[in-house]
Symmetry: C2
Subunit: 327 residues, 2 copies
């Protein structure tokens, strides 16, 4: 049994709790939180919720800590700190800062003789794997990543900070025509605007200036200015009824050529359609926890990503089963 | 530079030759054949074509041998034999006999201190990887593999053996409705007939009994009896004009659930659309040759499959590049 601890209890942590339950070789030992532990009710019976400071007392009782915090401020501190005491898995997703995060986690994990898997999930994660496999197999080609249709929490939060906005759910939507051109092997050069559109469902405060809110959203730099954005005002009831979930997904497409003169076109598409982004992301984290134990048992230490993990390490099956049923 | 030898010079070997040319860190040293070497003209200038018996003289001059023979009789003998002298990669694709092939290759590779990668390609190969990753991430689910639309060489050959048949090209076609049901998360139980249909283009000999040929095809056990098969008679000119290529492809779909009570549906689809089955398959073999060298440089030996290869080993990029651009 892989003995797992979870740090945090937001959507991702709840997903991890559910995913652990689906895997017979895993058990949840404890959840650690910065909140008042008495205020946190978890789903698994008889598992304690404890203050984060008590985590280190679980050395020897927990094999792998799943770090379910945010990439902006939590994980850059938490992952290296914990990696000295436990094997850890995180979902650090600030793409530009991954090399820096890797280096700091690697140092501490090696000090502690532990394995740390960072940036697990689907992007970074399974999507990254497909960019790598696609590029390795079709070196003469181009890859495209499309996201959605799905809820972007970062964009939803950005809109919520606008004066007069009570709530927002922002959907990222891939442009169907652009995807069709990529699938057809055209290898187009696509601008940001040509790849995705953005759709915001907004609950405005009573008496708020809706025209002004719409204008502020559509011109917001980085988040919306480079996209065609649609703003739809709805009631709080509609928001609760129609937009409670966190669906997401997308496609990684590698379009390349083979043949002596590049005369054959080959297309690889990896597509996710997810009812729940956090549930799925945490399912990847939990599979990585299994891989961590196998790598540790071979005497490996330091920071890893899905790029470094032999796929068989993620599986609950033995090598014989894999050869006989999966290959 | 990875110094590569190719054994055989059929469609797969030609594909490997083209793929080596696309990779700057690879070079082709020699092609070995059982035919008269003077009768074999290859595409790469200044590379010798030699009798297979001379292969062993290239120990120390060739790092990795790509074994481009058939799974029925060639590879079960050739792969273990060569694995004692060279690192090897093959595309052994008789799924039921993979465990046995693995064991015999593993023994000889370890004797020689070499690495052997077997069953590389797309099925077995990239499709297998996606079955493994999908099952590891979504343990509560079901996976489906659909093949086509594409040419099955085995089925084409089977029809060619029928009396009165001059030529045949057999297309395997997935049933669109079945794929739609799987993509929608219905997790249906599908019979062989419900998953694929078969379409045969046949050139009959002059005066042949076409009704009899059609009947023989449609009732052929294993190959056609369990499928809805369509037979279309065409001229030799039409065959040459419209069916010269070897396109193929297909989808691996993992449909699973997450959430405490399985309330969220998550779908992963990996889809290949290939102008040329052998060109694409051999591109996977060539990427594996790179991985072989990295594994060998770490001191590993024995038989491996794509399940055992850390994805980064397949890539020409450094770890820093991968972290910065692919993750």
């Amino acid at each position: 049994m892989v003995r797992i601890g979870i740090v945090g209890y937001g959507n991702l942590a709840k997903g991890a709790e559910c995913a652990i339950r689906q895997n017979e070789d895993m058990c949840l030992v404890a959840v650690f939180t910065r909140r008042d532990p008495n205020s946190v009710k978890i789903l698994t019976p008889d598992v304690p919720v404890l203050p984060l400071e008590e985590a280190e007392q679980f050395v020897g009782k927990i094999d792998v800590m799943l770090l379910c915090g945010g990439s902006a401020t939590d994980l850059p501190v938490l992952t290296p700190k914990m990696a000295k005491y436990f094997h850890v898995v995180d979902s650090f997703d600030t793409h530009a800062k991954i090399p820096q995060h890797f280096a700091s986690v690697d140092e501490r994990a090696k000090e502690g003789g532990k394995i740390a898997v960072i940036s697990a999930g689907w992007d970074p994660g399974l999507f990254s794997l497909n960019r790598l496999y696609g590029t390795a197999v079709l070196p003469q080609g181009k890859d495209y990543t499309f996201w959605g249709k799905g809820v972007s929490q970062g964009h939803s939060d950005a809109v919520r900070r606008i004066h007069g906005v009570k709530d927002c759910r922002q959907y990222t939507i891939p442009v169907a025509d652009a995807m069709d051109r990529v699938r057809a092997g055209e290898n187009p050069t696509l601008t940001t605007r040509e790849k995705h559109t953005r759709l915001c469902y907004v609950v405005a405060e009573e008496g708020a200036d809706k025209d002004k809110i719409e204008e502020e959203i559509k011109t917001m730099p980085n988040y919306f200015a480079d996209y065609d954005t649609t703003v739809v005002f709805i009631s709080a009831e509609e928001m609760a009824r129609d937009h409670a979930g966190l669906p997401h997904g997308g496609s990684v497409i590698r379009s390349g050529v083979t043949g002596w003169n590049g005369e054959c076109r080959e297309t690889i598409e990896y597509k996710l359609t997810l009812d729940s982004n956090p549930q799925f992301t945490s399912s990847v984290l939990v599979a990585c926890a299994r891989a961590v134990m196998k790598m540790a048992n071979r005497g490996e230490t330091g920071c890893k990503t899905l790029f470094d993990i032999p796929p068989a390490d993620l599986s609950a099956m033995s090598q014989q089963e894999l050869l006989a049923t999966m290959l």
